[in-house]
Every structure is written in C-alpha cells, then in structure tokens.
Amino acid sequence: MRIGVALRELHGSETALAGELLRLADRHAKEQEIYHVAQDLVRWSRDHVREIAAVGPRYGLELEEPDLKNPEPPTEEAGELPGDGSDPDLLLLADLRRLYRMAAGVSLDWDLLGQGAQVVADAELLALTKRCHPQSLRQMKWADAMLKTVSPQILAG
C-alpha cells in the first residue's frame, strides 16, 4: 500500500505552501491585501499539515511538525519573468505564479489521496480530503485572482 507515500508527499507540499504564503506576505508587505490574506490562508495549510500528521501513524509514518516560522526556501527559482529580479512588481507576478502552481500541486495531491482513501475504504481519510481539498483550491484561485487583478497595471507600466 502506498497511501503513506501520498501522505508524505502532501505533508511536504502543504508545508511548502504554508512557507510560500508566509514568504509572499513578507516579501510584499506593502501590498496590503496580499500581505493580510496570505497570512489568513496560511492557517488552512497549517491545519492541513497538522491533520495529515495526525493520520500518519495509521500508515506507519512519523511526520514532524514543520517549522513554519522559518520556512524552507522554495524549490523553484524566483526569476521566471524577464528582468533582473530587482523589480518588485515583476517579482510579485513571479511569486503569485509560483504560489498558484504550488497550490495547484497541493490540490492535486489531495485528489490523489482521496482516490487512495476510497480504494482502501478509509472513511476518515476520505472525510479529511473532502475538508481540505476545497481549501487548497481556494488558495489556488486566490493566487489566480490576485494575479489577474495586479497584472494589468504592472504590465501596462
């Protein structure tokens, strides 16, 4: 059974997403809506990580409580749009694009876990995915919405 693999993957991706949300807030503190909402949305990922960790032992996993105060740097490079990386507006677009993809990845992982939960008939795990998956999608849609909102002014500038 490879449910443990999926759980471990999700634990990692949710932790990274929480870290990324915090980093986004920190890097764009003057973009007030991003600053505040990103921090609101960290709560969901933190809850998810905690819940995944709680399920872990049933699948032979001991998942550690991540240090969200000092998140790991992102695995992808920041400079994805043309520019020398010193332009905070282009950095914002790049950060939101990465956040979107990370949230999409997490959302996909919840999908996978949900499939696994059904095949092993783990109702509790299935309920967990149904609780958490929509929130990952909302994080992803938020990144998309912010990108759509802020990009016209940046691209016209």
Binding site: Q32, H36, L41, R138, Q139, K141, W142, A145, P152, A156
Partner: protein, 888 residues
C-alpha cells in the same frame, strides 16, 4: 404648500397640548442583559418646550387657519429627534413638519421654496430650501415626502448655513512655485487637459485615476463614469463610498446577485422586531430613528436587537443588546444562526423554493455554539440565545446594517449573515420583512448605480462580456475601450498605485482623503508626491485641496440641479435654489467641460458624453438603465417635482415605483442577468462565470456561509485596547460643512475619546482629562469622556482634521485626526477599509481641570458620571415643529 394644517385627530399625547411631563430617563441595557421583551409603553416628554401663539409670524410656516395645530419651538441640538408622534403597527407615520429659518427671517418674507432633499446623511429626507434675496435662508421638511413625513434632523436644520461661509472656494487655483494661486478656469482646465493628454500618450489610461464621493448627484456620477470608463478607458475609479457602503453593495451582490436594497423604510411601520447591526441609527439617520422612536412610543411597539460595543441610544432602547469585541462579528452571527437552525426556526419551504447553499450554512455554523461564540466575542452565551429567540420568533423582521459591520474585519462575511437570517426565515418582500444594508452618505447609492465606484453602470456585470457590449452600445463606444479585464480598482488600491507612481494623475472630487482614509501619514505623503498630478474639486480648501496641483471650485447642494437616491431606493430631485459663489461651477459642468476640452468622441464622431446639462444627463442615464434592476425609465424631472420621492425600479411594469424588492421570491441573480458572480468570502477571489452557473443556475438567492477568522491586529500588551472610530450626530465626514455651522460646531466642537469607567480608573483618567491615544501607526491627543462603552474598547470620532485645528504647525504636529491611528487593511471582498479593528494604548497626559470632554451628552457619548453640562443649542438652535396635519 397647499396643505391644510388641520388635525382631525390630534394625538392625545402630543406634547403641545400638555406642556409635557418630566422626562423619564432611559435605563441602560447591559451587555446581553435581558430586558423585558414586552416593553412598557413609554413616552419621553420633551424638556425645553415653548408653545407659541398661532400666526405670530415667527415660524417657517404660512399664516395659520382656524382650528389648526400649533407650532412649537424646540432646541433641536438638545433634542435631536424632536417631539414623539406615536403610532401603531400598520398605521401611517404621522406628519411632523420641521423647519428652521435664519434669525430675523419671517416665512412670509421668503421669496420662494425650492424642492430638494437632505444631503448630510444617507436618509434622503425631502425638504424645501427657503430663498430670499438670492440667498438660502432656511429649510423646511416636506410633509408629503415618503421618507420623512416632514421631519428633519439637526444637521439638515442648521447645516445649510455652511453654503454661505466666507471661505468658500470661488476661483480655480493652480500651484506655482510651490504655492496655490488664483487663476481663471481656462488656465486651470488647460493644465488638467494637458497633463491628461501627456500621460495618455506616454503611459496610457492606466496612469489616470479618479476618486469621487458619496455626495454628488446622479447626473454627475454618471458623467464621471462615462468619461472615466468610456472615454478615457481607465479602470481606476472609485468613490469614498468605498469607506461607507462598499460592503452594503458587496453583501447584497453575494446574497442576491445584485445590488439594491430589498427593504423599505416603511418596514419600520410594520415590523415586530427590528435588528440593528453595528448601526447607530440614532446618530447616523436621525429621522429614521425618529420613526423607530415613534413606533416604540405607540401601541404594540417592535422589539429591538442592537449589536454595538457602544452604549448608543439604540442600545438603550433595545430588548437585547450585544456588545461584541470588535473584529468578531462573523462569530457572533454564526452563533445566532447556529441557534436559529438548532431550534429549527427555519422557513424550510422558503429555503427550498428560493435559495441555494443552505446545507453548507448548516454545516458551517454547527460548531458555533453560544458558549464557543461567547468565548470569541466576549458576550454572554445567553445573550446569543436571546438574540436568536428574538429573531427566530419575529413575524415581521426588519434588519439594518451599518459601519459597525461594514468597517470591521470580515465585513462582507458578517453582513451576508444578516441576509442569511432573512433568507432562512423567509423574511423578505412583504411589509415589515425587509433588509436595509444601509448607506452612510446621501448619494452613495448613485455612486454605485452609475458606476462611479468602479462598478459597471446600471448594475452591469464587469465579468459578463455581453453586459460590457451592451453598455458600449448605450454609449456608442467601442467595447474594447471599457476596461473589464479585472475587478475595478478600489480606493485603497488606487492610493497604492499612486504611492508606487503607476498612477500619475489623480482627480479627487468632493471628498477629503487626507483626513478620511486610514493611516494619514502615509496618505498625506503619497498625495504630496511630486510625480503625482493632483486635481481636487471641492467647495472649501480642505486638507486634501492643500496638497493639490489644481483646485477647482465647485458648486454644492442648493446651487445646482440633480437627483439622488437614498438607502431605500427613493429618488429625489434637488433643484437649484441660488447661484454658486464667485466662479464656482457645478461638478457636472466641470466634468463636461473637461470632456469637451479633451474632445472625446463617440463612434459617430459626435462629442461624448452626448449630454450637456442635468436633465439631458438624467435622460441619458435612463437609457442606460433600461431593463436593468435600477430601472429609472419611468421617472422624469417633472414627475419628481412636487412628488414625495419615487422608489426604483420605476418603469412600465412598475409605473409608481417599487416599494419592496423580491416580493415574489424572485431575484436578479440569473447568471446572464446578475450584477456579480460573487466572491469567496475569505479570500475575496471573484467566482468564475462557470462556477456561478453551476452553483446557481436558476438565479435563486444565495446563502453563503463563512468561517470566522481572528482580526489581523488584536490588542496586546503594548496596545491593550481595541480602537474603533465613528460618527457623532452633529457632524458629517471631515466637518467641511458641519464645522462651519455654528449650532453643530458648538454641539461637538473638538475631538474626544471614549473609555469605560473601569479602564479609565486603571489608566488614572477622569472625565475631561487630556489623554494620548496611540496605535502602532500614529498618535492623537484628545479629552477623555467616560461612558458605558464596552471595557477594552476606545472610541474616537473621525470628523476632526486640521483645517480649523489649533496645532503647532511649526512642529508639524498632526495629532487630532482619528485616522492617524487606523490600519491600512481592508475586507478582501468589499475592499472596505477597516476602521474598527486597530489596537491602541491610552495614556493620561494631564488634568482637564474639571472641565468635561467636548463630547455631546445626547447620544452614544453620554457620560456615566454626573456633573457634565447637557448639550444644548440655545436660542439660535430653536427650530419649529408642526405635529399632525391630518392623514396622508
């Protein structure tokens, strides 16, 4: 007036027959403390009452006839709500005509009375302006007006005097060598046009932004929206309505797919329960509160629920008063809904037939038990249960919502829960069962309808391409010119773009962000940036105008013609009574002048906008509203003249207007018709059209649930208080008018801070002491008023800026405006800034020498201690009242 002033059935309790009895003092409702749900019939007699002989010629009324009711004279500063005219459920609210004329002016000396409505709050009370020798000399309520039945509030009775202030702006000003100097219109407008053209050439329309008001007329907003969205093609347009009614609009869109108040003021006449959420109606809409007081004084009075951390007059009258910790409204509402659902006080037939989303609500509020909510909100669990019992037991429930919810953390999510209570209880569309997501400003509704707040004109949906194309057809413009690629840029984001330098041209009309926006140090510095070309259009040299590159002198209410619409969709006409001072021009003329100088053209090469004066603008607006919810097609200037106000939609199907929306359980929420697909209540992300269609294919009302999130700034060790800001009864906004009105200024002359007795004791503060209030962003100095406010909460009125402040300018000290302290943060759904969720600390600076704080004693700032002189207006505040006058 053409009315007979006889009263066939004078009210037996009418004070002018009795001379009055000693006033009974109201008892203070404790937080969540139950008062008897059947409240005793109570009549509060007037205090300062003088009965004058008939026909004395001293009153603002025509000579009297035989057997008519007398006129009484009252100090309406001391008695803001005037004489009670009690009435029972389902009865007509009696008329009471209020008037105030300038000293020494007899009514028979008045040359003419010019129809208008009130402009210093959102109630929309019909009045006539008295004109003598080309000057405004007073006002008189219109008895036949559906909104006020003749009544006026203190700001209306006295505020007109500000029109004639000697310091009105009368000539355009331009900045030369750092100084603002007088010039002519051509010079000023040429500068504005040249800078517009330069930026359009260099940067495109996204370098231009507009920030307008909630106080212009419909015709002016429509013109501004057409210029901004149509001709220039910028997405950066908003009103200061963002600070006051953005959440009203957002909450209505979330629940009903479209803006538009479902209820009517007449619901007060029928309701058996009235719930006021964060709405100190007694001070914000004094005449509406008078209507409530008259119901409370009559037979079978309604019971009130009040949610407010301050001991407002509403709280004093409430059967249940809950004073939650600021920033916890969603938790409270979820708790009330939890109880209503748990006790199954739900109209399941209505829910099944007319709504979507109920199951999600049930699931969401399941955890919000009264005890859990009590922990979060700091209210008794029993208070939550009592509130639910009151709301759940109502047969005709009316709810109103205002800034206590709108300017708080999770503003839209909380306000939507009020809508949800009505939806789950089926309380919509019949007499007494209505929702008013209130407005704070007189013409805020029009800012929204016209699209001057960024919404698309006439409640079109910016994310529906067909709506955009339709508007482009109305305007005869290319749809590509109308920006609709993203949500309209809201006020705080416009300021952010100005701060970052991507907006280089900002045109501010009839509002004063240098005092009214949060975190003023930041706002001042961004408005003063050299790279920003700032145009300010106003009637006085405001704190914002002082920062401008070009100042355009505008005409105001009474000096121009136009229409405006209040919070219950009532449209009034306001006719020009007198000429504006000097070279001041109406805002409409200024906008149209700009358009002509810019040489905007439509698709046929004709000048755009295609209208040229108020009435042609109104007729053009009507064409833009055809088939839309706010359909004005049945209204004309001629119909409005002499009328008591008409409620939209007014069209062939509803020739006399529409009193209540959604009477048949049908909503304007069909996917192809709705104004908005809604947003995520936590993230604020707009829903995609496909998501909305899947959720709500039939266009039902939408029950949207929301989880509670803690506020972003909570009291802590260093800043132990929750700071909230708000209004007083006697002032409007930044006091540009009310501060120049002697009676109003005297009633509330200087900033103060409210604190409860316990917190004051701990801080060593006595009534009237000088204190310093500080947040992480700024500090102010004020005098302390000790009131019954919720412990842990401080209140500071936001009206006081610097134009008349006695401050040490040399030292650059700006320590008077509440917004020095407020936080730059907003509700992600409505984008309304948070003025009720800052943390602050309090420090005593010095003794007040036994002199009480300069805060009114008449309303929420009433002191708990004795020895504070009552707020009175004195002889120059005497206003006339004529009660009764027969059936309407």
């Amino acid at each position: 007036m053409g009315r007979v002033w006889s009263s066939a059935e004078p009210w037996s309790m009418a004070p002018f027959t009795s001379g009055g009895t000693p006033a009974e003092e109201g008892t203070w409702a404790g937080r969540g403390v139950r008062r008897p749900l059947t409240r005793p019939w109570r009549y509060r007699a007037p205090r300062r009452l003088r009965v004058r002989p008939l026909g004395s010629g001293e009153h603002a009324f025509p000579p009297q006839r035989e057997g008519v009711v007398p006129v009484v004279s009252r100090d309406r500063i001391a008695e803001p709500w005037g004489t009670r005219t009690p009435y029972g459920p389902g009865q007509e609210w009696p008329t009471r005509v209020d008037a105030h004329l300038a000293e020494g002016v007899d009514p028979d000396q008045v040359d003419r009375w010019v129809q208008s409505a009130t402009i210093l709050h959102s109630n929309g009370d019909g009045l006539d302006i008295a004109v003598k020798d080309g000057r405004i000399v007073g006002v008189r309520g219109r008895d036949a007006d559906r909104v006020n039945h003749g009544r006026l509030g203190p700001k209306d009775l006295y505020g007109w005097q500000a029109n004639q202030s000697p310091d009105r702006l009368t000539r355009p000003l331009v900045r030369r060598d750092g100084e603002l100097v007088e010039t002519d219109w051509d010079t000023a407008m040429d500068l504005v046009v040249r800078r517009s053209r330069e930026l359009l050439d260099e940067k495109g329309p996204s370098a231009l932004g507009f920030y307008t008001s909630g106080q212009l007329f419909l015709e002016e907003y429509y013109t501004l929206a057409a210029i901004g969205h149509g001709a220039l093609g910028t997405n950066h347009m908003d009103g200061n309505t963002r600070l006051c009614t953005a959440t009203a609009a957002a909450a209505l869109k979330e629940s009903f797919g479209c803006d538009g108040q479902p209820g009517s003021y007449t619901d007060i006449d029928h309701a058996d329960v009235i719930a006021l959420y964060g709405h100190n109606m007694a001070e914000t809409q004094t005449v509406l509160w008078t209507r409530v007081l008259d119901r409370l004084a009559g037979p079978n009075p309604p019971k009130l629920l009040c949610v407010d951390p301050r001991p407002t007059p509403v709280a004093r009258e409430a059967a249940v008063h809950l004073a939650p910790l600021p920033g916890t409204n969603v938790a409270l509402m979820n708790g009330i809904l939890h109880e209503i659902i748990r006790r199954d006080m739900v109209d399941h037939d209505y829910v099944d037939a007319h709504t979507v989303g109920y199951e999600e609500l049930v699931e969401r509020v399941a955890d919000y038990t009264p005890e859990h909510v009590a922990d979060i909100c700091g209210v008794p669990a029993d208070g939550v249960r009592e509130a639910a019992e009151l709301l759940g037991g109502a047969e005709r429930l009316m709810s109103t919502v205002l800034q206590g919810f709108y300017q708080s953390h999770q503003a839209t999510a909380a306000s939507v829960q009020v809508n949800n209570i009505h939806l789950v209880r089926g309380m919509l569309g019949r007499p007494g069962a209505g929702i008013l997501q209130m407005n704070g400003q007189p013409t805020a509704q029009n800012t929204r309808e016209c699209g001057a707040d960024g919404d698309l004109t006439a409640f079109r949906n910016w994310s529906n391409d067909e709506h955009v194309a339709d508007l482009a057809a109305v305007w005869n413009l290319d749809p590509m010119r109308i920006p609709h690629y993203a949500p309209p840029t809201h006020a705080m984001q416009i300021m952010r773009y100005a701060e970052k330098g991507s907006i280089r041209f900002l045109w501010i009309s009839a509002t004063n962000p240098a005092v009214s926006l949060p975190e003023l140090e930041r706002i001042r510095s961004l408005l003063a940036q050299r790279g920003l070309f700032l145009v300010v259009q106003d009637i006085f040299m405001s704190e914002t105008a002082e920062l401008a590159d070009v100042v355009l002198p505008a005409a105001t209410w009474g000096e121009k013609t136009g229409t405006f619409t209040n919070a219950d969709r009532t449209v009034h006409l306001s006719d020009k009574a007198v000429d504006p001072p000097g070279e001041a021009r109406s805002d409409l003329d200024i906008f149209l002048d700009y358009a002509r100088r810019m040489d905007f053209r439509d698709e046929d090469g004709e000048p755009f906008p295609q209208w040229h004066d108020p009435e042609s603008a109104f007729e053009a607006w009507k064409r833009a509203t055809v088939g839309r919810p706010c359909d004005y097609t049945g209204i004309t200037y001629d119909r409005l003249r002499g009328s008591g106000g008409i409620q939209w939609p007014c069209n062939d199907d509803n020739p006399d207007g529409t009193e209540r929306l959604y009477a048949d359980g049908r909503f304007w929420a069909e996917p192809d018709y709705c104004e908005s697909y809604g947003r995520d209540l936590v993230t604020g992300a707009p829903l995609e059209p496909t998501e909305y269609k899947a959720m709500n294919p039939e266009g039902r009302a939408i029950i949207k649930a929301a989880e509670y999130l803690p506020p972003h700034e909570s009291p802590d060790g260093e800043h132990p208080f929750a700071l909230i800001t708000g209004r007083t009864l006697y002032h409007f906004h930044t006091r540009t008018k009310t501060g120049r009105t002697p009676q109003l200024q005297k009633a509330a002359p200087e900033v103060w801070m409210e604190v409860c007795a316990e917190d004051a004791r701990e801080a060593g503060v006595s009534e009237g002491d000088h204190v310093e209030v500080a947040s992480p962003r700024g500090v102010i100095r004020a005098r302390a008023r000790i009131t019954g406010i919720r412990p842990g909460v401080l209140f500071v009125p936001f009206h006081y800026g610097y134009w008349d402040a006695v401050t040490d300018e040399a030292a650059g000290q700006r320590d008077r405006a509440a917004n020095e302290m407020t936080v730059t943060d907003w509700d992600p759904v409505s984008k309304q800034p948070l003025f009720k969720t800052s943390a602050a600390r309090l420090r005593r600076v010095g003794s007040g020498g036994g002199v009480p704080a300069p805060a009114p004693t008449t309303a929420a700032s009433r002191p708990v201690g004795t020895g504070v002189t009552e707020t009175v207006g004195g002889s120059d505040a005497l206003s006339d009242e004529r009660v009764g006058g027969g059936a309407r």
